[in-house]
Each structure stands twice: as structure tokens, then as C-alpha cells.
């Protein structure tokens, strides 16, 4: 039965391909996956969001990128050098790298691309990362020779390279200037990545076609870099809004590779013809606490809450037993994750009760803000509520729409506690920066912590960085500006004909590693 079905499908597919004309020939291999919303556009770093970045990441590359352990490795740069004073970065470019239009990449293309995103006229938010708005100020970015590109900073800043590698800026994508029309308007991405833009039917699907002349680095794939030797001819993302539907499509053989939730993973695990990949990511699930709140301003209350909540049980529940707790904001795959980061306020109801008593807690209501949204925001809040009630805390759940919760998050007010999630930060300092600082939304405003966090971003010395991160973590546990749960387990369901899939901490699909078995 199954077999017949498959035949029918391949015939239908072949027919479609034949009629489509632009689509590749019959022998071409294709991997079909899904996105829950359409891409915002094709302009890397400009028309983007999380979904879009994943698609763009196949077409474009920058000078540097992230390795699996989130260290920085060269990508389009052959190598780079940092001057003694830490202000000048000299990038040697790889030779013979071809753009999708066949032209060879030169340093002037790199300079043009840099200015496109970071220049004064840039439409990209990325320029704010380099114009002094946020610590880093680039004073010059110039092609020095055909194969040499030099960036000078006003002051040394350790996370400069990590900032350059950001996914939301397409790793400061190097594009051919023909990506832009003569009038300066956006045309299409002509990058150096292993895939190039194919068909995009808005609201329906996006297709990327394999770039035949892709110039790969040597070696194995590593994080978002390393050797990329794409074998699948077409990557196709269907826009499927509903998880249950993409799961059904996977079972039907209409999709080959799908992000799934824990429950589906548990269900699919033992089915023949399918496989499930579960990987811990750098996505941090947490509860943010509002320390400005009259009740929560007492650190003993916050500690009591931390002791009342058992992250192990909650993580096990929301991952169907696949995941485990890792309460530190620093993800376990980070080079900076040590025994210190493994520490947290353990589940201890008696201790929680004692702390509450000591703080003179008198049944004041504590509201947990949550939303019904993928990512178990609601389930996490619900379990925390139950556990807090067990410890004698009068916790109440308030379920709001995502937009409203974001508003509360941004204003840093209108909530006492909320279940929240941060996307991957690939530098230990940034892992703290995401909730530490002066801005309203930041949960941790303690000046000492902010100073330490800033220092962690500045220092270029690995040992010093580790020391600061350790101190930050200790302070984090002591002050409890947030209660960490863990780093989210990402599940991928695949048809057994897909080979080569590996997830990594950043959770972005790397289509160039995929293979289709015959």
C-alpha cells in the first residue's frame, strides 16, 4: 500500500516538475521541509525574521561564523588577525570563491556588502551594532588589497567577531553588488552560499536550488561553517501554519523533514520509515521575575520561588523525557559552561517555606503571565504555578495573547513573573546580556551585574572571560532575577530516506549536510 502510494506521488511530482518548466529535471533530488510562516523577503539582514534567517543562511555567508561550540571560525575569510591593541581586524579572503552569478569574490565586494548593512544609509538594524549605538564603533571598513579587508574599531571589543557572525545580519553577508538594482532597490540575493534563490510562491513555499559552483572550505562541517558539500538539488520549505498538519504531511510522505513537538517525537520514535532527532539547543526557557514588584523586590521571596520550582521535573514533562534541566543562561554546549554554571537553587520545598516565613510572606498573590504559543509557555507557567502553590505561594496564572505578553516584557512592567524564552546567544557574555542591563525590559538591573556583563563583552582574554562568567553566574543564583529552566530540546522528525541530518545548538537547519537515500 505504502509502496503504491509513493509511486503515485513521484509520478505526480514528476508531472508537476515537467509542467513547471523552471523546476529541475526529473532526476533531481529534493528535500521538503516546512516553515510555520512565510519568509519576509529575500534581503539578508533587512527583510528578515527567525524563519527568514534560516532560509537566507543557505544562500549567503560572511567572513566569519559560529562553530558548533559557538566559537568564531573564519568562513569566507581564509584567516584573520587582530592587532595588539585589539582595534584592527585584518581579514585575508579565500581565493576563487564564486558568487551565484559566477563572478569571483574580491575585497571590494566585501567592502560594498559591509556598507550595505552597516553604512549610514543602511536599512538594516545591523548598522546599530557597529555605529556606536551599542558599544561597538567601527571607524573604518576598507578593502586594502584584492584579498584583504580591514576593519578598525574605536575601542577594542571582544564580541566584535561574534556580533559580525550574527544570524540576523546574515553573518554580515557578503553579496555581489548586482544583488541591488541600479536605482539602489533590492533585486535578489547573489551570495556565495551553497544554495541560491529558486521559486518563491508567497504564502505557499520557498525553494532554493543547489549552487553547482559552490566553493567549499576543506574539512567537515562545523556549526554554521566548515566544509559544505551540498548534495540535495532542491530544498523546499512549504509554509504550514499548524504543527499537526506538518506532522500529518510527514507521515503522508509529502514532507521529508519537519520540526516536531515532544509528544510527536515520542510517538514517531518507534515507527518504521521515520526517525527522530532530539538535540539540546541554546534556546533558553526561563521565568523572568520582576524585581521592581513590591512583593518580588524581596530577594528571599525570589529565592523561595526558585526553591519551590523543580526544573528537572518541568523539563522532563515538556520534553516527554528527552530533555533535562540546565538553569544557567549559558548553554551547556558553550565552551564557558563549567561546573559553576551547573549550579542552581535546587528544588527544596522546606527551604522555600522557611524563606517565605522569614520574609514575612502573607499569601500575597503572585501572577504568572503566559501565552498559548508553541514552546510550552503555558505548560511551563502552569507547572510552576502548581509547584509554587505546593510551597504555599499564592500563585495565579494569567494567560494573554503573545503580542500582549511581549508588550509587558518590553515595558518591564505589568507582570510579576512570566514564562519566557530567549533565542540562542552564542557568546557567554551575551547569554547574560539578554536579560541584564538598564533597559526597561531587562530583568536584571543591578549595576554590579551590568558592569560585569559589560566587562565580559569587552575582554579578549579567555581566562578572564571565564572568571567573569563564573562570577556573573554566582550573582545570578544569589539574586534570582530570573529562574532558569533549561535549554530547549529541538525535535526533528524525518522520513528514513533523509540522511546526514544533524542538529546543533543554534537550531538552524543546515540543508547542505542533508542527503537523500535512494
Amino acid at each position: 500500500m505504502r509502496q503504491r502510494t509513493t509511486n503515485f506521488r513521484s509520478i505526480a511530482l514528476a508531472a508537476a516538475v515537467g509542467l513547471g518548466g523552471v523546476a529541475p529535471a526529473m532526476a533531481d533530488s529534493m528535500v521538503r521541509t516546512s516553515l510555520n510562516a512565510d519568509i519576509r523577503g529575500t534581503n539578508p539582514g533587512v527583510t528578515r525574521d527567525g524563519n527568514t534567517d534560516e532560509v537566507h543562511g543557505h544562500m549567503i555567508e560572511g567572513l566569519v561564523t559560529y562553530a558548533s561550540d559557538f566559537s568564531i571560525i573564519p568562513m569566507l575569510a581564509e584567516s584573520y588577525e587582530i592587532s595588539e591593541d585589539g582595534r584592527t581586524y585584518t581579514f585575508k579572503l579565500r581565493k576563487g570563491v564564486k558568487f551565484h552569478n559566477g563572478e569571483e569574490m574580491t575585497a571590494s565586494d566585501v567592502e560594498w556588502s559591509w556598507n550595505r548593512l552597516a553604512g549610514e544609509a543602511s536599512e538594516s538594524h545591523c548598522k546599530n551594532f557597529f555605529n556606536g549605538e551599542n558599544n561597538i564603533k567601527v571607524t573604518s571598513a576598507k578593502a586594502q588589497a584584492d584579498d584583504t579587508f580591514v576593519i578598525t574599531l574605536a575601542e577594542p571589543y571582544a564580541v566584535f567577531l561574534a556580533t559580525m557572525a550574527r544570524f540576523d545580519c546574515g553573518s554580515m553577508a557578503v553579496l555581489h553588488p548586482d544583488s541591488v538594482n541600479a536605482d539602489g532597490s533590492w533585486n535578489k540575493p547573489i551570495g556565495t552560499g551553497p544554495y541560491m534563490m529558486g521559486d518563491h510562491a508567497p504564502g505557499r513555499y520557498v525553494e532554493l536550488n543547489r549552487f553547482e559552483d559552490y566553493s567549499s572550505r576543506d574539512g567537515a562541517p562545523d556549526g554554521y561553517g566548515g566544509g559544505k558539500n551540498p548534495t540535495v538539488d532542491v530544498l523546499r520549505w512549504e509554509i504550514v501554519g499548524e504543527g499537526a498538519v506538518s506532522k500529518t504531511a510527514l507521515l503522508a510522505g509529502d514532507l521529508d523533514l519537519v520540526d516536531i513537538d515532544a509528544m510527536t517525537a515520542a510517538e514517531l520514535k518507534d515507527q518504521p520509515n521515520f526517525s527522530v532527532d532530539a538535540a539540546e539547543s541554546a534556546v533558553w526557557d526561563t521565568y523572568l521575575l520582576n524585581s521592581d514588584d513590591p512583593v518580588l523586590s524581596d530577594v528571599r521571596i525570589r529565592r523561595a520561588m526558585a526553591h519551590a520550582i523543580d526544573p528537572q521535573r518541568i523539563m522532563a514533562a515538556i520534553t516527554e523525557g528527552f530533555g533535562k534541566a540546565s538553569p544557567s543562561p549559558v548553554p551547556p554546549m558553550s565552551a564557558n559552561y563549567t561546573d559553576v554554571q551547573a549550579k542552581y537553587l535546587t528544588y527544596d520545598v522546606e527551604k522555600a517555606k522557611a524563606l517565605l516565613e522569614e520574609a514575612g510572606y502573607n499569601g500575597e498573590e503572585i501572577t504568572i503571565l503566559a501565552t498559548r504559543r508553541n514552546g510550552a509557555y503555558y505548560e511551563r507557567a502552569l507547572m510552576a504555578q502548581a509547584m509554587m502553590m505546593d510551597a504555599g505561594i499564592n500563585a495565579r496564572l494569567e494567560v494573554v495573547e503573545w503580542g500582549s505578553q511581549l508588550e509587558a516584557y518590553r515595558n518591564g512592567s505589568g507582570y510579576q513573573m512570566q514564562s519566557f524564552t530567549f533565542s540562542p546567544r552564542l557568546h557567554a557574555g551575551l547569554s547574560f546580556e539578554m536579560f541584564t542591563g538598564d533597559a526597561d525590559r531587562k530583568a536584571w538591573k543591578n549595576p554590579d551585574a551590568v558592569a560585569m556583563m559589560n566587562e565580559s563583552l569587552r575582554t579578549g582574554d579567555p581566562e578572564e572571560l571565564q572568571a567573569i562568567i563564573d562570577r556573573l553566574h554566582e550573582a545570578f543564583i544569589a539574586e534570582v532575577p530570573a529562574i532558569g529552566l533549561g535549554h530547549r530540546t529541538l525535535f526533528t522528525g524525518m522520513s528514513s530516506k533523509i540522511d546526514g541530518f544533524e542538529n546543533w545548538g543554534a537550531g538552524l537547519l543546515r540543508g547542505w549536510m542533508l542527503k537523500v537515500k535512494d
Binding site: 503515485f8 527583510t47 509554509i239
Partner: protein
């Protein structure tokens, strides 16, 4: 009749202005910030947020934003999507085409089934046939349409493998394949409509069957089939038609659940997505468009109604 249509259209203009004000006010009253939504909550710095806002024209005072929008709307420009940069006007039209295809096909097939089914049930009142029809409609009404859609997908897509589960091909591009993709969504939508319309048709027919003119039609010696089709149906259909109008207007405004389950790029999906993304231009444009769909559908239903019930005068 043309005068009637023209009058109705002209009369709806002030309604539209009021609707526009309400739409704008409601949309902007939604908590949440599109710039923020776009950054996915991962705001790294305020400057980025501000830059995004001014790009979107959200840094202007609210009345200014409204006037700008209204002026553009009246000059036929609904703006561009914050999310994708597409022209809202053509986007709406394109999405409406998908929704309208599915909805009209579903309504057509639903009527083809529910009119005879309702008449039959009424004709065989209190028989097993009648009970079976009533039972089936209640059964369908008690099942959530999202679930039914998903089950259809699982059955015909995953288990039997007869029909595709994801994707969409426009029938204007490829009729054969387009129809293949339409079967499930049309069926799913039609099932819900059949349940409602069969019940309406049955109740309407039962009422009409008690009328003297039906006995009279039988007394004329007409065969039962003709009594049902010529005398019961046209009179029993009038209330059903009103329901059809209400349902059509609602569904043409977007069959969000069906579109989500069957991955159709329709108006309903667009509306839901634009609400979640706080894509103001799309959301405002879509709501205005939907208001127009309502006005037009009602007009068409009124015209159709006068056809079934000559006592209703179009004036």
C-alpha cells in the same frame, strides 16, 4: 434593479467610512507593537526598535497615521505589508481568489447535497431515513471543524495516500492538479455547511409541507417529486438562502480554520497571520475588504431572495 443595486452601493459608502474609523481604532487598540513582533521579542537595542518604528511610520501621532491611511485608501492604495512588503491590494485580491474558489465550490457542493437531503428528511418525516439524516448532521455539528479537517488529512493523505497533505496549486495554473489540492478543503468545508444547511432545509420543508398549497398541489394530482421540487423547495429554500448568505459572507471573509489545516494561502490565513504579526496595513486592508465582501454578499443574497420569494420587492 440596476437602480436598486446602485442605490445600495452608494448607501454603503458612509458605512465604509465609519467602518474604516472603527477598524483603525480597533487595530491600533490591540496591545502589542509590530516592530517588536517583527524582532520576535529578541530586542537587542532600543535604536533598532526605533528605527523599525520610523520605517513603518509608527512613530507618527495616531491621528496623523489615520489621516495618512484614509487618504491612501481613498486613492485606492492600501499600502504595503509590514511583514513581506507586498502590495496589500493585490495581496488581498490574490488571497481572496483562493478563499473564494474553495468557499464557492464548497457551498455549491453543500447545496447540492443538503437541499435534496433536507427535502428527503422532511418528506420522510419521522422515518428511519429522517432519523439517520438528523443524526448525521448532529454528529457533524458536534465535531470541531479543525479536528475533522485534520482527520480527513490523516485518512486521505497519510493512511490512504490518495491526496496531497500540504501545498496548493492554483486551478488557473493547472486545473487537474489544482482540483487535487482542493478536494480535501472543499470537502471539509462542505461537510460543515451540509450539516447546517440540511437542518435548515429540513425544518423549512417541514413547515412548508404543512401549508395548504402543498396539499393543494397534491390534490392536483402532481407526483410527489414535483410537489417537492416545484412547490416545497422554492418556498422552503428562502430561509436557507438567508443562512447561505450569512455563511458565505463569513467564509468569504476567510475560512481561517480550513485554510490553516489545508495550507491554503487564503484570506483567513492572511488575516490571522496579520493579527499575530500586528501587520497593520494588511490587517486594516483585510478588514475593510471583508466589510466590502459582506455588503456585496448581502446585496447578492437579497437579489437571489427576491427570485425565490416574489413578495420581496427590491427597493
Amino acid at each position: 434593479m440596476p437602480i436598486f443595486v446602485l442605490k445600495r452601493v452608494l448607501m454603503s459608502i458612509p458605512t465604509f467610512v465609519i467602518v474604516a474609523v472603527i477598524i483603525f481604532a480597533l487595530v491600533r487598540a490591540l496591545p502589542g507593537d509590530p516592530a517588536l513582533m517583527m524582532l520576535g521579542g529578541n530586542i537587542d537595542d532600543e535604536a533598532t526598535l526605533e528605527q523599525m518604528r520610523s520605517q513603518l511610520g509608527l512613530d507618527q501621532p495616531m491621528p496623523v497615521q489615520f489621516i495618512v491611511w484614509l487618504r491612501e485608501v481613498f486613492s485606492g492604495n492600501l499600502g504595503t505589508s509590514i511583514m513581506t512588503g507586498q502590495e496589500v491590494g493585490s495581496l488581498l485580491w490574490q488571497r481572496f481568489g483562493v478563499t473564494a474558489t474553495v468557499v464557492l465550490l464548497a457551498m455549491g457542493s453543500a447545496l447540492l447535497v443538503s437541499i435534496p437531503a433536507g427535502l428527503l428528511a422532511a418528506h420522510r418525516h419521522n422515518s428511519r431515513t429522517d432519523y439517520a439524516i438528523v443524526f448525521l448532521t448532529i454528529l457533524k455539528l458536534s465535531m470541531p471543524s479543525f479536528w475533522v479537517g485534520l482527520m480527513l488529512l490523516v485518512l486521505f493523505g497519510a493512511i490512504l495516500g490518495w491526496l496531497p497533505t500540504v501545498g496548493f496549486v492554483s486551478i488557473s495554473d493547472d486545473l487537474g492538479r489544482g482540483m487535487l489540492y482542493l478536494i480535501l478543503p472543499v470537502t471539509s468545508l462542505a461537510l460543515s455547511e451540509i450539516a447546517v444547511l440540511t437542518r435548515m432545509m429540513r425544518a423549512g420543508s417541514l413547515e412548508i409541507m404543512g401549508r395548504d398549497y402543498i396539499t393543494h398541489a397534491r390534490a392536483k394530482g402532481l407526483p410527489e417529486r414535483k410537489v417537492l421540487w416545484r412547490h416545497v423547495f422554492p418556498n422552503a429554500f428562502a430561509p436557507t438562502l438567508t443562512m447561505v448568505g450569512v455563511m458565505l459572507a463569513g467564509l468569504l471573509a476567510g475560512a481561517a480554520v480550513t485554510e490553516t489545516v489545508f495550507t491554503l494561502p487564503g484570506l483567513g490565513k492572511l488575516l490571522v497571520d496579520s493579527i499575530y504579526a500586528r501587520d497593520y496595513p494588511v490587517l486594516q486592508g483585510a478588514l475593510l475588504f471583508i466589510a466590502a465582501v459582506y455588503v456585496l454578499t448581502n446585496l447578492l443574497v437579497d437579489i437571489a431572495y427576491s427570485f425565490f420569494d416574489p413578495r420581496v420587492r427590491l427597493s
